[in-house]
Assembly symmetry: C2
Homo-oligomer: 114 residues x 2
């Protein structure tokens, strides 16, 4: 797989000046959660190897696991073709979701079709 | 897995009034792409079972595959704990990425750590 170096400035930001991050369990392939990074979160994640986000609700830098102990260790970060979304493949300690579920995506949408 | 019925109005929107969608290959578990839905895209996807997005670049409803033939058939839609992100598990025909790659996440970010 091709490797690229991208500074924060090179990424495409959303309307809030942030970049969405999709978080996937490195071993199972399960999608665990989605969150957002600002410049500090991005650079701290690259530097420390521990997933760090911008908490929109608390308006502060958020080292995932800092209160719960449920840290996410980076195994691989990927970038999509238009450089506006990050895919983080991680080793998840415990549950990714604050509800206690391993993944935040623990509910299925009932379809109209069937 | 719990099943829920959620109308568009019940979902939490981003600053652009849309909901981000993470698209995962149902069989391999690979994350294929990320895109956005507006109300029409959401309702059309639920109704037809074929992934439909809002194209931010073209500013129009976008049935994925309508020009390339690379349709995405919905196998399962999931919603996250705070109801602001959709996970679509799909059968992907051909490549999800316009570059011809199966997944849009075909490049790895070079980490500072190592």
């Amino acid at each position: 797989m091709e490797e690229v170096s991208l500074t924060w400035e090179m990424l495409k930001k959303n309307s809030d000046g942030m970049v969405p991050v999709v978080v996937q369990d490195y071993e199972s392939g399960d999608v665990l959660m989605a969150a957002y990074m600002n410049k500090d979160a991005y650079e701290q994640t690259l530097k420390t190897g521990t997933m760090t986000y911008w908490s929109r609700s608390r308006q502060k830098l958020w080292v995932k696991g800092e209160t719960s102990g449920h840290f996410q260790h980076v195994r691989e970060l990927r970038i999509d073709c238009d450089e506006d979304t990050i895919l983080a493949r991680v080793e998840q300690t415990g549950a990714a979701c604050h509800t206690g579920h391993r993944s935040c995506f623990y509910r299925r949408l009932k379809p109209e079709i069937q």
